[in-house]
Amino acid sequence: MSGESATMIEDRVLRAVAAALGVPPDAIVAAPTLFDLPGFDSLAVVTILSRLEDEFGAEVPPDAIVPEAFESLGALTELFRATRGQA
């Protein structure tokens, strides 16, 4: 487990989400929830999940895949911080 800070993880999550949706990072930070972003539908969620798993080289356990984990940038960051912690 690396000593990467939450801020650094969040930055990588932000860039991956922005790339997957094709929207600027600013728009993601400004959105009330990720589900308000254009194109953030069920298929996009899975795309983002796969991208982040590749990015962090860790697989999210199925039971951790709940709607709340995809609500916000903070929740997604926490999901991958926790997943890496277990890896």
Binding site: D41, L43, P67
Partner: protein, 515 residues
């Protein structure tokens, strides 16, 4: 007992298999006996709200559990239910409530806030519905006579046109029950099946899962958006799902999730597909991911519910076919002269049989154009869709009438371009748009391939003349509420992308990845 009205399906199960599980939503399951009782209690409540025979009741929600007993409750009164998604834009919702002349709107809280702005309709929150009565409940004071005839409408199903406001297909009890029997005879849902429906009940493909499950005595699991997303695999495993109705976007999702590893749904025995073709590679991927899986192609339109169903894994023997006409129904492909076209020739699809619905609501001209009569006065549905039949009567969809265009001197259909794209290894979903005033023909695909290879493979399959003017590879396509590709949103994406990077891809140049 032969069911003549929709709720007879439920009451038959309620008497025969009262203890069998009928419906699961979240972590709660109701038996057939409970569902029958609950719907009877709700029917009493609807009557108190002034709902009677022929009145329209809009069921506004998103696969909430109350929708199921509500549907049957409306049937018990001879009322006409109108299933509508609470995710619909307000303008369309307003149109549906006005156009249907709804007596009552029963809405989820999300729907109620949208419907609250509708001045004329009476809106009730689903939270006001009576709870499931206990087993000692004496039952409603039932009137002896049937509440309506089997030829009266059971529901109005609104379908959204790509440009126009949604229009409703009037679906009488008799046609709905015929379609349920005919589809059941082909798909063979069983009483030990668990059916996961994560398609909205406002979409007839989703709605009929309620009836097909009920007719078989199977357990229906109502899924939500998240079940139609990252949670799909877990839900399939957790609920021991054996039957899963798919549209192509859901099939892609299932393949991606199964590819991540982890536990696979071992009881899943059948997936059905409709709405658009599944690529042959996608069918193979599904079978490779889940052993002994039957992939069943189907074709339908709300105007007659279902046109054709194929044998399991028909893609292996007749790739691209959507099967044969339902039993006791007939499909005809006619040329421009109205005469049957020879096998292999594309023409307009006509449909005959007891499943042809009654017509469009409030639209006599459109009804007269599509729902025509033969010389004996029997209905013949003129679908406006282009199809061909092979010599054995297997049907192949060739495109909607309005997606044919002329390009470099040849006739091309968007469906033909999509079919060619779906043959290319790595392509998951494909959506082609005909030229419009501002753009030429455009193709967007999702999948794992470079834009350069997409273009090269397309050129090899379609030839230079039919090659789309612009192509893109995206990570996702915009989807409509029913999981089908949202072509209007896709059109807007192209316009926005062009505004950001003009001339993104032009014919002969390497295709770009965007945006």
């Amino acid at each position: 007992m032969i069911p003549t009205l929709l709720h007879d399906l439920l009451d038959h199960r309620g008497l025969a298999d009262a203890q069998a599980p009928a419906l699961t939503h979240g972590d709660r399951t109701w038996t057939y006996g409970e569902l029958a009782r609950w719907s009877a209690a709700i029917a009493g409540w609807l009557r108190e709200q002034g709902v009677g025979r022929g009145d329209r009741v809009v069921i506004l929600g998103h696969n909430n559990c109350e929708a199921v007993p509500l549907i049957f409750a409306a049937s018990r009164l001879g009322a006409v239910f109108v299933p509508v998604s609470d995710q619909l834009p307000a303008r369309q919702l307003e149109h549906i409530v006005t156009d249907s002349g709804a007596r009552l709107v029963v809405a989820t809280s999300a729907g109620a806030s949208a419907a609250g702005r509708l001045a004329d309709a009476s809106v009730r929150d689903v939270a006001e519905l009576p709870a499931l009565p206990g087993p000692a409940w004496p039952g409603p004071a039932t009137p002896g006579a049937a509440p309506c005839l089997s030829i009266d409408p059971a529901c109005l199903i609104y379908t959204s046109g790509s440009t126009a406001m949604p229009k409703a297909v009037v679906s009488p009890h008799r046609q709905v029950l015929f379609a349920v029997r005919a589809i059941s005879s082909q798909l063979g849902y069983r009483d030990d099946d668990v059916v996961l429906c994560c398609l909205p009940l406002s979409f007839d493909y989703g709605l009929y899962q309620v009836f097909l499950s009920c007719a078989a005595g199977a357990r229906l699991v109502l899924g939500d958006d998240f079940d139609a997303g990252p949670a799909l695999l877990r839900r399939l495993v957790h609920e021991d799902v054996s039957v899963l109705p798919l549209v192509p976007s859901l099939a892609v999702l299932l393949c991606r999730l199964a590819g991540r590893g982890g536990q696979l749904p071992s009881r899943l025995r059948m997936v059905t597909n409709t709405g658009a073709d599944l690529s042959p590679a996608m069918c193979q991927q599904l079978r490779a991911a889940i052993g002994d899986l039957a992939v069943v192609p189907m074709f339908g339109l709300t105007e007659c519910k279902r046109v054709s169903i194929g044998e399991p894994n028909l893609d292996l023997s007749r790739p691209g076919s959507v099967g044969r006409a339902l039993p006791d129904t007939e499909v005809l492909v006619v040329g421009e002269d109205g005469k049957p076209a020879p096998p292999g020739t594309v023409g307009e699809l006509l449909v005959r049989g007891p499943h042809v619905m009654a017509g469009y609501w409030n639209a006599p001209e459109l009804t007269a154009a599509r729902f025509r009569r033969d010389s004996l006065g029997q209905p013949v549905l003129h679908t406006g869709d282009l199809c061909r039949l092979d010599a054995d009567g297997y049907l192949y969809f060739a495109g909607r009438g309005d997606d044919i265009y002329k390009q470099r001197g040849v006739r091309v259909s968007a469906t033909e371009v999509e079919a060619a794209a779906l043959e290319i290894p790595g392509v998951e979903l494909a959506a082609a748009l005909p030229p419009n005033g501002s753009f030429g023909s455009r193709l967007t695909v999702t999948g794992d391939l470079t834009p350069h290879r997409l273009l090269a493979e397309l050129r090899a399959r379609l030839g230079e003349q039919k090659l789309p003017d612009e192509c893109r590879v995206m990570t996702a396509l915009p989807l409509a509420i029913n999981g089908k590709i949202n072509r209007r949103a896709l059109d807007e994406q192209w316009a926005q992308a062009a505004a950001r990077s003009p001339g993104l891809v032009r014919e002969g140049e390497p295709a770009g990845v965007g945006p």
